[in-house]
C-alpha cells in the first residue's frame, strides 16, 4: 500500500457520492394471503464512502433490504434515496437496477461461460459508450492491480473460489459504481481464505472508495471490515443497535488480536445472540 493511500485512508471526506438514505422502509410479502412482514419501518443513513456492515441472524430480512436497493424487488412503503435521488418510494415501488449499485452475490454470479477478462469487461461492453480496446485495457490493468494477472483467459470454473470472488469485485468496480452491495459473499469460504479476502477487499476499497453495504452474520468479519455495524433485529428486520467501529483504517490482521477489537466483539455478541435466539425460537427458515 502506498503512502498516499495511507494518509487519507481513514477519512471519508473526499468521497462525494454514494450516500444511501433508507427511510421508513416496509416490505410485506404476501405470497398466499398470509402477509409476512420482512422489513418493518427500517431507517438507515449511510454516508458516502462508508463500509456499513448489516449484521443479523439468518433469514431476518437483510437480503430483502439489499434487493430493494438493487432494484430486484419492490417495497411496500417508505423510500430509498441515493445521493438525494429517489430510487424507490411513493409512486415508484421498485428501483431500476443499474450500474451505480452493483451486487456481489452470495454464491457468486460470474458468468461461467465467459473468461475472467470477458466477465470483467461485461458491464462497460453492454453499456457501450467506450471502445472495446479501451474497455479491455482498463480491465487488464484493474486485474493486475487486484493481483489477478495470469488468469485473464481462465474461465471462472478453473480458478479457486477465493479468486473468483476477487474477479467478481473487480467486475463490479469496472463500472465505477457508487455503491457495492455485498450479500454475504464470503459465506461459503473457509476461514483462511476468508481472512485473505478481507484484506484484499480493504486494499481494493482504499484504492477505490465506494460506499459498501455489506450483509453478513459473521461478527469478526463485520468488525474487521466495517466503519459501522448495524445490528438488525430478527424478522421483521429493523435496526436494533448501531455500533461505531473506532479502530482506525487502514486495518490489517493485527487488529484482530487488539483489546479494542475484543471489546467490540463482546459488545456485539450479546446483542446478536439475543436476536439469534429469537429467530431460532420462531423457527425461521434461512433466506
Amino acid at each position: 500500500m502506498s503512502a498516499v493511500i495511507e494518509e487519507n485512508v481513514g477519512s471519508l471526506a473526499d468521497v462525494t457520492s454514494g450516500a444511501i438514505n433508507i427511510k421508513d422502509v416496509v416490505k410485506i410479502y404476501d405470497p398466499d394471503g398470509a402477509a409476512v412482514m420482512a422489513v418493518d419501518h427500517c431507517s438507515i443513513d449511510i454516508p458516502a464512502g462508508e463500509i456499513c456492515m448489516i449484521v443479523g441472524p439468518s433469514g431476518c430480512g437483510k437480503t430483502t433490504l439489499l434487493n430493494a436497493i438493487a432494484g430486484f424487488h419492490d417495497i411496500t412503503s417508505g423510500s430509498i434515496h441515493l445521493d438525494g435521488e429517489l430510487l424507490c418510494g411513493p409512486g415508484k415501488p421498485q428501483a431500476k437496477p443499474g450500474s451505480d449499485r452493483i451486487v456481489v452475490f452470495q454464491n457468486g454470479a460470474l458468468f461461467p461461460w465467459k473468461t475472467n477478462l470477458d466477465n470483467i469487461a461485461f458491464g462497460p461492453m453492454m453499456v457501450g459508450n467506450q471502445s472495446k480496446a479501451e474497455i479491455y485495457d482498463k480491465a487488464r490493468s484493474m486485474m493486475a492491480d487486484a493481483g489477478l494477472s495470469g488468469t485473464e483467459n481462465n474461465f471462472p470454473g478453473e480458478v479457486s473460489s477465493g479468486l473468483r470472488r476477487r474477479v467478481e469485485i473487480v467486475r463490479a468496480l469496472m463500472n465505477d459504481p457508487k455503491v457495492l452491495l455485498f450479500d454475504e459473499p464470503y459465506r461459503a469460504l473457509d476461514s483462511l481464505t476468508k481472512s485473505v479476502m478481507h484484506e484484499a477487499l480493504l486494499e481494493i476499497y482504499y484504492r477505490n472508495k465506494v460506499t459498501i453495504f455489506f450483509i453478513t452474520h459473521d461478527l469478526e468479519e463485520a468488525i474487521f471490515l466495517g466503519h459501522r455495524l448495524i445490528i438488525m433485529s430478527s424478522r421483521p428486520c429493523k435496526p436494533k443497535k448501531i455500533m461505531e467501529v473506532d479502530i482506525p483504517h487502514p486495518r490489517d490482521y493485527s487488529v484482530l488480536t487488539s483489546p479494542r477489537f475484543r471489546e467490540l466483539m463482546n459488545e456485539a455478541k450479546d446483542v446478536v445472540h439475543e436476536e439469534a435466539q429469537k429467530a431460532f425460537d420462531a423457527g425461521e427458515k434461512e433466506g
Binding site: P97, G98, M126, S161
Partner: protein, 444 residues
C-alpha cells in the same frame, strides 16, 4: 535440536523465518529413516505431512496429471517435498517417492504447520508464498493447484505460468491415455464379444428352435464384406451407400429444421411467461402423441414419399429440442440475469449473453435426445413410406426373405446412429469450452 533448527533454516521456504517460529516448527518435527529403495508415499495416498531430506537422497516421481514438464527428480539434503499436505483442497499425494539410499527425513504435519503459521500471519504468508512459487517453478503445476496455497498472491506466478496453459489437444491425449489404462475399453470389448458369442452359439451351434430362420454371424459378415454378395448388398455395392446416404440426408434435413425451430421456440418459452402460457399447453398435449400415430396423417397431408418421412423425423426431434431448451432457460440461476441487469445490460443483451449460453448445456442434452429419436422415427417412416434408406432396406429385406440384409441394415444403423450422436456431442464440447475445462478439473 540445534541440528534440526539448522536443517529447517536451510530449507528454502523457511529461510529468514524468525528463530522462535523455527523452534516451534522444530517442535512438531519427527525424524524417520528409510532403507535404500524403501517407499515413502505413493501417488494418491492421503497427504498429511511435509518432508525435508536431512541425509541421503529421495526419488520423486510426479503423477501424469500434474501438468509438469519434468517428471522425475532427486531430492537431497535440505530439499523439501510433499507440499500437497499444506494445500487446501488437495489431500492426496500428487507424486510417488522412495529413498534411493539409506535416508533420513524430517516429517512435519501439514495441518500443524498451517496452524503455526496462523499464529504469525505475516511470516506465514511469506512462507506460503515461497511454497507456491517453488511449486510453480519446480513442478510447473496447473494454476489451480497453486491457487490452493492459502494466502498466495497470484501476481507472483503470473509470469511463470503463461507457458503452461493446458491445451485442448494435450487434454484429449491425456483423456485417451487414461481411458486406455482404465478397465472401461476392455469391459466394452467383453460386452461385444458376449453378444456376438451368444448370437453365434444360439444360431450356428445350438440351432435353437425359434432361431432357425435367423442368419448367423458367419453368413451375415460373409455377405457384408463380400465383393460379390449373394443378396446383392455389401460394402462393395453402391446401393449400400445409397441407402446410408439417403437416410443421412433425411436425418440432416429434419434435425437441422428441428434445431432451427426448436431452439428459438424453447428459448422464448423459457424466457417469456406470457408466451409460455399461450403455447405450452398446446405443446404438452401434442408432445405425448407417438410418432407412429402421425403416420397416416403425414401421408394424407404431404405429397410424394419423401416429405412424410422427413415430417415424421422432424416431429420427434422438434419436441425433444424445444422442451429441453425451455428447461435449460428455466434452470439458469436467477443471480446471473440479476447480475447482468446490475451491470447495465438491457433485457435483450441479457437474453443474448446470459440466457442463451446459460441454457446451452440443456440445449445440447436436448440435441442428443433429438438425434436419437430422429433415427427412431426415420426408420418408422421409411418402413411405411419412401424409397431407399436403411429403414426401407430392412423392411424390403424382410418382405423378400433376404434375412442377412436385415442384420446388415441394423448394424449399419447402430454405427451410423452412434456416429451422428458423437458428432453432436463434439459440437457441444466445442461450443462449451468453459464446461469442458471445468469438468476436466473436477468441481472446485
Amino acid at each position: 535440536m540445534d541440528q534440526l533448527v539448522d536443517l529447517l533454516k536451510s530449507a528454502m521456504p523457511f529461510r529468514m523465518v524468525p528463530d522462535n517460529l523455527i523452534r516451534d516448527i522444530a517442535g512438531i518435527c519427527t525424524q524417520h529413516s528409510f532403507a535404500a529403495g524403501e517407499n515413502i508415499y505413493n501417488l494418491g495416498d492421503t497427504a498429511d505431512d511435509v518432508y525435508i531430506v536431512s541425509s541421503g537422497s529421495v526419488q520423486h516421481i510426479l503423477g501424469v496429471d500434474s501438468g509438469t514438464s519434468q517428471h522425475e527428480k532427486t531430492m537431497r539434503s535440505g530439499d523439501i517435498f510433499g507440499w500437497a499436505a499444506v494445500l487446501e483442497g488437495q489431500n492426496t499425494r500428487l507424486a510417488a517417492t522412495s529413498s534411493k539410499e539409506p535416508t533420513e527425513v524430517i516429517r512435519i504435519n501439514g495441518k500443524e504447520l498451517t496452524r503455526l503459521f496462523k499464529t504469525d500471519p505475516a511470516v506465514g504468508d511469506v512462507v506460503m508464498t515461497r511454497f507456491a512459487t517453488m511449486i510453480n517453478k519446480e513442478f510447473y503445476v496447473p494454476r489451480t493447484i497453486s491457487d490452493q496455497v492459502p494466502g498466495f498472491k497470484q501476481a507472483l506466478v503470473a509470469k511463470s505460468l503463461q507457458g503452461s496453459e493446458v491445451t485442448t489437444m494435450a487434454l484429449t491425449v491425456y483423456r485417451i491415455s487414461t481411458w486406455l489404462k482404465s478397465p472401461r475399453p476392455y469391459l466394452m470389448l467383453i460386452g461385444f464379444a458376449f453378444v456376438l458369442g451368444f448370437w453365434y452359439l444360439s444360431v450356428e451351434v445350438w440351432k435353437l428352435p425359434r432361431f432357425v430362420d435367423m442368419p448367423g454371424p458367419t453368413e451375415v459378415f460373409t455377405e457384408w464384406f463380400s465383393e460379390d454378395p449373394y443378396y446383392g448388398l455389401s460394402i462393395y455395392t453402391p446401393e449400400y451407400y445409397k441407402h446410408i446416404g439417403i437416410s443421412l440426408q433425411r436425418i440432416a434435413f429434419a434435425f437441422f429444421l428441428a434445431t432451427g425451430l426448436g431452439v428459438p421456440l424453447g428459448l422464448f418459452l423459457g424466457w417469456s411467461k406470457s408466451f409460455r402460457e399461450f403455447i405450452f399447453p398446446l405443446f404438452e398435449v401434442l408432445r405425448p402423441i407417438p410418432v407412429l400415430a402421425w403416420v397416416p396423417l403425414a401421408i394424407i397431408i404431404f405429397s410424394g414419399s419423401e416429405t412424410p418421412v422427413i415430417f415424421l423425423t422432424f416431429l420427434a426431434s422438434f419436441f425433444a429440442t424445444t422442451l429441453n431448451t425451455m428447461l435449460g432457460v428455466e434452470s439458469i440461476d436467477e443471480s446471473y440475469s440479476r447480475a447482468a441487469y446490475c451491470l447495465g445490460a438491457s433485457r435483450w443483451q441479457t437474453f443474448i449473453h446470459v440466457v442463451i449460453p446459460g441454457a446451452m448445456p440443456y440445449i445440447f442434452t436436448g440435441l442428443q435426445i433429438s438425434i436419437g429419436v430422429a433415427w427412431f422415427s426415420l426408420v418408422a417412416g421409411e418402413m411405411v413410406s419412401g424409397q431407399y434408406g436403411l429403414g426401407y432396406l430392412i423392411n424390403t429385406a424382410y418382405m423378400m426373405i433376404e434375412y442377412p440384409k436385415i442384420i446388415i441394415g441394423m448394424i449399419t444403423l447402430g454405427v451410423v446412429g452412434y456416429t451422428t450422436s458423437a458428432m453432436v456431442r463434439m459440437m457441444g464440447d466445442y461450443l462449451m469450452q468453459w464446461r469442458v475445462r471445468e469438468l476436466a478439473l473436477g468441481d472446485n
